[in-house]
Symmetry: C2
Subunit: 186 residues, 2 copies
DNA sequence: TTGCGTTATGTACGTTTGTACGCATAAGTC
DNA sequence: GACTTATGCGTACAAACGTACATAACGCAA
């Protein structure tokens, strides 16, 4: 009775609702951009009533902030997992190459979300900690295999190469990436 | 009589109006983001009546497109000018260092605009040519001093370092940048 | 002057927006 | 069962939106 108890059309008791709304928010942002993200569109995507929006989130900005935070946490998780597997420095270098071009789960959707995040943070300084936190985690993962200076350069290169490859299909090939990583980490 | 002839409150004949609207658009985007850029806000910023918006631009998207195009042209111009001065490879390397951290005129405002552009292009594939055109010009400038492969890597590094330095104040120092450029261009 | 064609603008319209809030419905307690 | 409290939601509203369009203001030819 407690579970599955949807007694007709109008739903009740849906403990994952808030999480689902956040996920739906990312979906809407990916397709419509922050500029096209509205309470109503997210509500429809998450299949919840409009009233749930203002009930679970103080404002639209609050919703965006939480959605972007979840995005960075997911990415950080993937990033960490990839580097956790690497044992030797050479293996770590290969992971960097993987991330630079191809990425494990860097779909167009995720890349779009990241760029929306950047723009959002640039215009909302009070959410900058979302970025600095993410960057710190990435740096930390890299510094388990490289010196701080090299880690910083690899991090920047990952950023730039990922964006350039996204914007211009055949930007940096896998072989080219290998050469670059070798140079930077020497 | 033809110039300065504002015969009271309601203006007439203002040949630079379109250009001024585009500039005002960039100003609004920088502060409010694409999501907060409206006909009315731009009109106020440019000090033109609302009707001028739909008169000079087919739609809001058309306006955004033209504004972003102007942004990339300005940046390209600065970029080219900087590299035009460099005669030797070493001088070119130093320009790359300049651009990576500090940039000639890379204010927070301009960086914000660039990030908004990225997000906009990611969501509007039909405007991707604005990005590919810009990238081609940058690549071209770099290839006057470096091999294609090295130019591509420097371009990506500039991208990543600029963004990281913007997000996290003391990301890559000038000395560190010099080391990185030396490695990449060897 | 008058007339005409182009250029520009004020205004109105139908939508969509974020958000507030009264009320319905559940769980909790006896 | 009855009653109380906490939780969730349908709905309403003022503000702001993009856009269209009738009409005003001009330059210019006659």
């Amino acid at each position: 009775m407690t579970a599955e108890g949807s007694s007709g059309g109008n739903r009740r008791y849906d403990p994952d609702r808030k999480a689902r709304i956040i996920e739906a928010t990312l979906e809407v942002i990916a397709v419509q951009g922050v500029s096209g993200t509205t309470h109503r569109r997210v509500a429809e995507a998450a299949d919840v009533p409009l009233g749930s929006m203002t009930y679970h989130f103080a404002s639209l900005n609050d919703l965006l902030k939480q959605a972007f935070l979840k995005l960075t946490q997911e990415i950080t998780h993937h990033f960490d997992a990839a580097f956790q597997k690497a044992q030797t420095a050479d293996e770590a270098r290969e992971v960097v190459v993987d991330v630079m071009c191809g990425w494990y789960a860097m779909t167009d959707r995720k890349m779009t979300l990241i760029l929306e995040l950047y723009a959002y943070v640039a215009r909302n300084p009070q959410t900058r900690h979302v970025m600095t936190g993410w960057m710190a985690k990435s740096r930390e993962a890299l510094e388990r295999h490289f010196s701080p200076a090299v880690a910083a350069s690899l991090d920047a290169m990952i950023e730039g190469a990922t964006i350039h490859n996204f914007m211009h299909p055949d930007g940096i090939s896998r072989d080219a990436a290998r050469v670059i990583v070798a140079k930077l980490s020497s």
